[in-house]
Symmetry: C2
Subunit: 280 residues, 2 copies
């Protein structure tokens, strides 16, 4: 497996692959790889000739006061995990090369980029789209892989690709969960053991909702009320939002259908976690 640190070397490697008519799969990550990331890499390995895992903690997607500085970083562990999952290349650019100080160009998605996660974290998706657009321009992938756990991010990236005609196919891979149901996330590392137990409230409230819907409930309000009171019972949790939305544009729906998505964001202590269930 190769470690590539510069944009120039990454471009050369991709150009060579393209000349040999090889397909490139990109798994963009911020490192701190867990089984969720590994499932993306496995999928890329199955689909593509060359698998590139990018590791870069993108400062543009963190707001002032968020966890940019303390975000967990362990390149050696990540490198080994990426290799074991089948990566051919780890693209590990230096922040100062890929996010230059005088950079003033941004890619943003209106509407969908401003609600739910975009409301709580105003410039978050602009930072995500800008860096993912840059990665697409440097790595030139045929396919890029994103996790369903970050459902709104995946949908926004799909929107960006369609609107800007990026020649990239987006594949969204199912959420990987711990045995007890907690969605895998690099931020789970922040949780104390008490908080780790409390964090299950996200998964369990989603399960509650799904059970109600299976039993015939069609009204979003009723399901959401139930989820809210469920979360309230967990002393260490503070609900940020809960919603039932159209999975294509994240607009809230009042009547639940097969294309609906239930989304939740909670703080557990100081750690902000998100999760979602597709109803398909």
């Amino acid at each position: 497996m190769k470690i590539v640190k510069t944009i120039q070397n990454m471009r050369q490697l991709s150009k060579k692959a393209k000349i040999h008519n090889k397909s490139i799969g990109l798994v963009p990550t911020m490192g701190c790889l867990h089984d969720g990331h590994l499932s993306l890499i496995h999928r890329a390995r199955k689909d593509c000739d060359v698998v590139v895992v990018s590791i870069f903690v993108n400062p543009m997607q963190f707001a002032q006061g968020e966890d940019l500085e303390k975000y967990p970083r362990d390149f050696n562990a990540d490198r080994k995990l990426a290799e074991s999952a089948g990566a051919d290349v780890v693209f590990y650019p230096d922040a100062k090369h890929i996010c230059q100080k005088d950079s003033s160009t941004f890619i943003s998605v209106e509407n969908m980029g401003k609600i739910w996660e975009g409301k709580t974290r105003p410039d978050h998706f602009r930072g995500v789209c800008t860096i993912v657009g840059k990665l697409f321009n440097v790595v030139n992938p045929d396919v890029a892989y994103f996790g369903q756990k970050d459902a709104q991010q995946a949908e926004i990236i799909e929107r960006m690709v369609k609107d800007l005609d990026f020649n990239v196919k987006i594949v969204v891979v199912p959420t990987v969960r711990e045995k007890d149901g907690l969605a895998m996330s690099s931020r789970n590392k922040y949780l104390s053991s008490k908080e780790r137990k409390a964090a299950l409230v996200l998964y369990r409230s989603l399960q509650e909702a799904r059970a109600m819907i299976k039993n015939g409930e069609k009204k979003s309000d009723k399901v959401l009320d139930c989820m809210r009171s469920f979360v309230k019972k967990e002393r260490l949790s503070r609900l940020d939002y809960v919603g039932i939305v159209n999975s294509e544009d994240f607009s809230a729906v009042s009547e639940i259908s097969k294309t609906s998505l239930i989304i939740i964001a909670c703080r557990i202590g100081k750690t902000r976690l998100i999760d979602n269930f597709l109803l398909v």
Copy 2:
């Protein structure tokens, strides 16, 4: 010369060229080709194996009340001119395919995109950057050509390419002028014969400024005051702005240097025209 109307066919053509290791030059235009555009095509012909001229009147770069509807269009004339100048391909997409109604992703350049032209025309450069980014993603050019007449646009595109790591070289080609000095522009067509004469005020005020600077004037204020009174004398003109700026970021400079650029925008009757002189 080929006429390509769909994104898919354009992509295929570019892919084929790349596989044969041919370089692609792109000249993005809104049609209504004049000698300014032809000089871009000639330059692309000299530099590249495959010359693509895109013709597309981009609704995103016009504000409400601007001249989108009446903007001159004559595809047959443009096609012949592009061919005579050496184009291999005219990419002529349908507006509804390249600017879809539900499109909500934008590329914007802060700072430089909000001053001068960006102040008078608030979403103009966002529209330009978004469509040029799309064209880069579809045509996949090695080099793209822009005219010095739209100096701020060219500089903003260079900024975008650098910030988003587009793998495209930007070449800026000198302004082509009518015999009497008027910068070529599709909008010159709007001018009555009286206005056509009055329009010379842009070029002449730039000449006045250059003469003052050659004679040793270093203070922007003095030169700009002189330009303002020069423009005032022309009854049919209404000054929008005049400025002396750093040619790399369009910030106003108080002391004139070799890297300064003098910019001017005027209304002549209802027609808005721009021009500039580099001092290098």
